[in-house]
Symmetry: C2
Subunit: 203 residues, 2 copies
DNA sequence: AATGAACGGTAACATTTGTTACAACCTGAA
DNA sequence: TTCAGGTTGTAACAAATGTTACCGTTCATT
């Protein structure tokens, strides 16, 4: 079981003995089926959530809004690390499995003590938290980019290709036909072409 | 001087002696004038930046994009804590003074050691980092909300009022006349009214 | 072969938002 | 007072995006 945790960069420096120390505190390990909901909007976050198997999708929406896919994540991955220590630890996204999978829950206090005692873990966790912020910043930035056209070019630059038009439309937060239209334009202008991997940059 | 640091929640638990320990490492203290640029897009972040006096505005833009005001911050405030420990510690926002002010720079390694040794500081820093993520999440969410109309209502709900139409338009990432138009509509529908504080929710 | 589901292209039209330009208003300074 | 600068309202038009609907392709299943 401890091997499941050691695959995390977060714990890569830790020996089995050290990790066993963390697991002396109460923890949980839950198995989820495909399409199961792991986190609902509004759930509070009192435990470090570690996705040790499977893949999830995080979505954000609102009564009035379209639903935007924020991210698609694969194990091993820390889920929602940014809400664990927040003043308002209410999670604003919905997390659901896209495959079968396993999530570990480690209580906040236990993890905090563990980090305080193991600075190499702390450093990696800080890095992870920061990387998540960087990711969110780039999301914000991408919405600030004017024109779907440029957002699409940005997207292809960052992801290499658009393999699935519908799914990408969800991530970009636009209607599928709108994305199709832009892709047609970009092809006409020879900025983008279809390869076997989907739409890629030309030249 | 140390008093300037003690006003931070981050260091509120620390005695002067303990803080003096942190300042045995090299640090800087810079004074800025109004409109001075503190951080340019692409700068790397190797120091904890503490705004001890004055106010700043953080903006995000791109060659192709409109410029969006991400946040307006007042001392005391940690600037860009999320990039200090990120793998890619390139700052994607521009930070400029909106008044005169002072920023302290404390080297990353010094601060890391200090946190590892003082878990109450660590806890507050983690909280701060997390709150910043929460803030960014809510930004992302607000861009996902469909229709400027709903974004405006959200904005008023969160901020209480719109006191300055131009500035708010920058934050919402829309053209000023568009915001004016929506506000006129909302007034006509009696959802919003002008008070001495600006536009507020009605009823 | 027949079927149905998932995906993508596209057209016609509606709606939203941007752009530009101008006028009105307020405030503080000369 | 006059003036300049900043803020807001608004109109007319342009451009971008959403909506809906329909068609064709592919692929797995029966």
């Amino acid at each position: 079981m401890i091997k499941e945790l050691q695959q995390f960069p977060l714990f890569s420096q830790c020996s089995e003995e050290v990790l066993a120390e963390l697991l002396r505190w109460p923890y949980q390990r839950k198995v989820y089926k495909e399409d199961n909901m792991v986190v609902r909007v509004g759930d509070t976050c009192d435990s470090l959530m570690l996705l040790t198997e499977g893949a999830v999708e995080t979505r954000m929406g609102s009564e009035t809004g379209r639903e935007v896919v924020i991210d698609r994540l694969q194990a091993p991955m820390i889920l929602a690390p940014a809400f664990l220590f927040a003043k308002d630890n209410t999670i604003p996204v919905e997390v659901s499995m896209t495959t079968e999978g396993v999530v570990w829950y480690i209580h906040r206090e236990a993890f905090f003590q563990f980090m305080a005692a193991h600075s190499e873990v702390l450093r990696i966790f800080l890095g992870d938290l920061s990387d998540r912020s960087t990711f969110l910043s780039s999301k914000v930035r991408s919405f600030a980019v004017k024109g779907l056209r440029n957002r699409v070019l940005d997207y292809i630059r960052q992801h290499g290709a658009i393999t699935n038009v519908s799914e990408t439309a969800e991530v970009l937060g636009v209607a599928r036909p709108s994305l199709s239209r832009i892709l047609a334009d970009l092809q006409a202008e020879a900025l983008v072409e279809r390869s076997k991997d989907g739409f890629v940059r030309r030249r």
